[in-house]
């Protein structure tokens, strides 16, 4: 890596080398039985240069072949975007706990046992369910150095436990599931299982729902599938810079319900999306996005921040390409309303646990529309059964404008979002 940087410095005004290596082992179950064990080793090196004021970029899995990597980057720099930023000079980084060495040393036998236990709890409740489960451990090493002397490296461990169950009766199919991840080994399959058991309980009976406007409760998983895709786009500094974010010009203004607060937080200890710095070497920080309904900030990487005359929020992430603004872990502040109270408030309505296809519409404009893959009918304050062949449609900005209620029990969803339940008094429902 040092050698690549040294040679790249000779070919360009500025250079940055980013190396990621990972080792991952997963134990996978199919049809309630152990089926696969997989190990993946991977290393890649990305070189970003500024030459003639323009960005060049290349990646390779062959760190030994510095010459072709540099040639590829130099070739692209003829056409690259004008670099408006400077790479960071040496700085200090916050200490964030994200490595637990016992993840790497967890034996495969232990992972197998964890998966078996998880499946046993679910099949103990519903004997004819078929489960796919996965227990996975991963250790990631990251190193970043640049031509201004900036450098950082860290290691991170991730342990995940996930399950998906299918229950088929006639031509009726029910899918339930949950997953959790942490930088510590997960040892309590019960926590994952409990979410699934509750889904099975609530979906035990079927119910029908009319086509009209109805009150709707989004569970934490429902929030993730319906509401988050639009917000992620809208708070991306790039969308704002282009003028394509509906909230881009409303900084400081009340746009959402005054009870709503949202922030991005890569500094939480032992969370899988935490890190001491972003993929450009900018120290991590907690970035408030919505404070009591007001839009307070957007997410930036170096280049986007420079173009927008602001500072990077440390949200430059690489998804196999150049860094781009991305949330790390989003957190919605809990409110005061217990879930049971939301349900008892509804005469006729819907609880949405999983919405399918919601991200396929005009998410830029905040529209979402999806099939209720898992959701329950509420009748006179009680959940009475699962609804099927039902679509809900709405707009995130109208939905979160006012009159919502916010749950008091936040949960992590997929490692990237912590949110309570959200209640909205009116949403368009269409059913067969």
């Amino acid at each position: 890596v040092e050698n690549i940087l040294a040679q790249a410095k000779k070919a360009a005004e500025a250079a940055e080398v980013f190396q990621v290596s990972s080792e991952e082992t997963s134990v996978q179950f199919e049809a309630n039985r152990l089926k696969h064990i997989q190990t993946k080793q991977s290393t890649s090196v990305a070189l970003r240069i500024i030459k003639g004021g323009r960005l060049g970029y290349a990646t390779t899995t062959e760190a030994g072949d510095a010459r072709s990597l540099i040639n590829n980057a130099v070739e692209t720099a003829q056409f690259g975007m004008r670099a408006k930023f400077e790479l960071p000079s040496p700085t200090t980084y916050p200490h964030i706990d994200i490595l637990d060495p016992t993840v790497e040393s967890t034996p495969i036998e232990k992972m197998n046992q964890l998966g078996q236990e998880l499946i046993a709890i679910i099949t103990g409740h519903t004997p004819d369910i078929l489960c796919e489960a996965m227990v996975e451990k991963e250790t990631i090493s990251l190193r970043l150095i640049n031509s201004r002397g900036g450098q950082v490296s860290y290691r991170k461990s991730i342990f995940s436990l996930g399950i998906m169950g299918s229950l088929i009766r006639g031509t009726d199919m029910l899918f339930v599931g949950e997953g959790q991840s942490s930088c510590h080994p997960l040892t309590q399959p019960r926590e994952v299982a409990d979410v699934v058991l509750q889904q099975l309980e609530l979906a035990r009976n079927q119910a029908s729902i009319p086509t009209r406007q109805l009150p709707v409760i989004f569970t934490p998983r429902g929030v993730a599938s319906a509401i988050i895709p639009s917000l992620m786009t809208a708070f991306n500094g790039k969308t704002v810079l282009e003028g394509a974010s509906p909230i881009g010009k409303r900084l400081g203004q009340p746009v959402f319900d005054p009870r709503l607060s949202l922030w991005d937080d890569p500094t939480l200890a032992y969370r899988p999306h935490s890190r001491p710095c972003d993929d450009e070497g900018i120290p991590s920080q907690r970035t408030p996005l919505i404070e009591q309904g007001k839009v307070v900030s957007f997410l930036y990487d170096l280049q986007t921040a420079a173009l927008a005359n602001t500072k990077s929020t440390g949200n430059g992430s690489r998804h196999g390409g150049l860094p781009t603004p991305s949330p790390t872990a989003l957190v919605i502040a809990p409110g005061k309303t217990p879930f049971d109270e939301m349900v008892s408030d509804i005469k006729e309505g819907l609880v949405i646990e999983q919405l399918m296809g919601a991200e396929q519409g005009n998410i830029l404009g905040g529209d979402f529309s999806g099939n209720v893959l898992l959701g329950y009918k509420v009748e006179s304050g009680k959940i009475v059964g699962r609804v099927k062949n039902t679509m809900v449609s709405g707009n995130v900005y109208q939905l979160l404008k006012e009159g919502i209620a916010i749950g008091n029990q936040p949960e992590w969803v997929g490692g990237f979002l912590q949110t309570p339940h959200l209640y909205c008094p009116r949403l368009s429902v269409a059913s067969k």
Binding site: H36, S44, A58, E62, M81, Q360
Partner: protein, 457 residues
């Protein structure tokens, strides 16, 4: 560059020496380039090279899999895969028999990576200029990517197959905005490596940009059931989501209840309905000669005259269901084991003209072009890039993009007209089990579906 040829020669001998029911290895060498624009500016341009491989071992019905991009210490990696498989295996291994194949398959296309970046950029500049000539345009995104991949597959039963493939994708989208309202329209194209098929699209790009602006004043449809007509592009996405995924046998083979539902001979649609998956059709994005288990590609009828007649298999699912392998085991790259996937999936054309299909619809929705699609097997959704009301047998005013949903056990049966104008859409990418986007194509003629549920206000 490490030589995957040398590594493959070493592996071909080594895989025969271990105590496993079956061992295979895949080695890959790939190059990619991409150019993206956001707004008027080129945003990112980059080139990458990758090399890597994997070993997969089967012992008593259990699989071990090891992937790597350091090609040293290969015997150790085989040992690890065999050890993992042994930890899993407790029953009998079953793989449908295939003849060992030794073959070298060249690409039918030139490598798009040899085309200078300047030439690709010039084309994209031209398209971006067209987009930006449209008034009320807020921003645009253009993403071009191409790749060339060389794969060597070898197995303990003596197969040694070298294949190359090239792939190109081009996605364009235009975003229009006015008074806090934001709307977008997109175009998604792909090719099995033929750069010239990305050229000459000025008119389509112009129409896309105009459509984004048009949507600003378009109404949202009222949610409910409609008679819906799908164009060939969207009907292709529909067949992929509504039926294709359910015919992937890895969902079915260990699930007795699903096997009962998906019993061959079950009626899913009218006698006019024929659904096919075929990697053997040449020149499409889902085409190949051998799959990633070294099984020759086939043309598989999934539905013939409305009845379930076949499904897609890997060697293991075929053996466990007592059916013939179809050559549908695919892996997105060396970091993943092959799983059962679609290739080129389509509804065969029938006789109706488009005019005849819409003629007797009093009020319906004409949905065109695709934005996305997903399935949970029984229920599925797919979203249109463009939508219009149909009124009294004529295509009428434009609508905001619509999301449609269906249920596999009723929606296919509700197809009551199939057009004569089959067209294959090459712009798609399919995701399954973390492997995304896999190059596929799908297609159909225009089709009409009664009682289709549409999301709306």
């Amino acid at each position: 560059m490490t030589d995957i040829q040398a590594a493959s020669r070493q592996l071909a001998q080594a895989v025969k020496k271990y105590n496993a029911d079956y061992i295979e290895a895949r080695l890959e060498e790939s190059q990619r380039s991409h150019i993206t624009y956001r707004g008027k500016e080129l945003e990112s341009v980059g080139q990458s090279t990758a090399i890597g491989g994997n070993i997969r071992a089967l012992v008593k019905g259990g699989w071990g899999f090891v992937s790597f991009n350091e090609l040293n210490d290969l015997p150790h990696r085989i040992e690890l895969a065999v050890k993992q498989a042994s930890l899993v295996g407790k029953e009998e291994s079953k793989l449908a028999p295939v003849e060992p194949i030794v073959d070298t398959v060249a690409t039918e296309q030139d490598n798009p990576l040899t085309i200078p970046l300047a030439e690709k950029k010039q084309l994209l500049d031209e398209y971006n200029d067209i987009i930006w000539r449209t008034p009320k345009l807020q921003t645009s995104v253009i993403a071009y990517g191409d790749s060339h991949k060389k794969t060597i597959f070898l197995s303990s039963s003596g197969s040694f197959i070298q294949q190359q493939r090239t792939d190109i994708t081009l996605r364009l989208s235009a975003v229009a905005a006015e008074d806090g309202e934001v709307q977008q329209a997109g175009l998604s194209l792909g090719s099995r490596g033929d750069f010239s098929s990305m050229q000459g699209l000025r008119r389509e790009v112009e129409e896309m940009a105009k459509h984004a602006v048009e949507l600003l004043s378009a109404p949202q449809v009222k949610g409910g059931e409609y008679t819906v007509v799908l164009d060939p592009v969207l009907a292709g996405v529909f067949v992929h989501e509504a039926f294709g995924h359910l015919s992937e046998s890895d969902f079915v083979y260990e699930n007795d209840r699903l096997r009962e539902i998906m019993v061959l001979g079950r009626k899913f649609g009218s006698p006019e309905l024929n659904i096919v998956d075929s990697a053997a059709m040449p020149g499409l994005r889902g085409s190949y000669k051998y799959d990633d288990e070294g099984v020759p590609a086939t043309k598989t009828y999934l539905i013939r005259q409305g009845e379930l007649v076949g499904r897609l298999h890997s060697r293991e699912t075929a053996a466990r269901m007592g059916e013939k392998p179809t050559g549908n085991a695919r892996a997105i790259n060396y970091q993943f084991p092959p799983i059962v996937r679609m290739t080129n999936t389509y509804i065969e054309p029938a006789s109706a003209s488009f005019d005849k299909i819409i003629a007797d619809i009093k009020e319906g929705v004409y949905a065109k072009n695709w934005f996305g699609g997903t399935t949970s097997m029984e229920m599925f959704t797919f979203s249109a890039g463009e939508a219009y009301m149909i009124r009294n047998g004529k295509v009428a005013e434009p609508l905001r993009p619509v999301v449609l949903t269906g249920n596999v056990f009723t929606t296919l049966n509700n197809i009551d007209a199939i057009g004569n104008d089959l067209d294959m859409n090459q712009g798609g990418g399919c995701g399954k089990a973390g492997q995304m986007p896999l190059p596929v194509s799908n297609g159909s003629p225009h089709i009409r579906i009664r009682h289709c549920l549409v999301g709306g206000k």
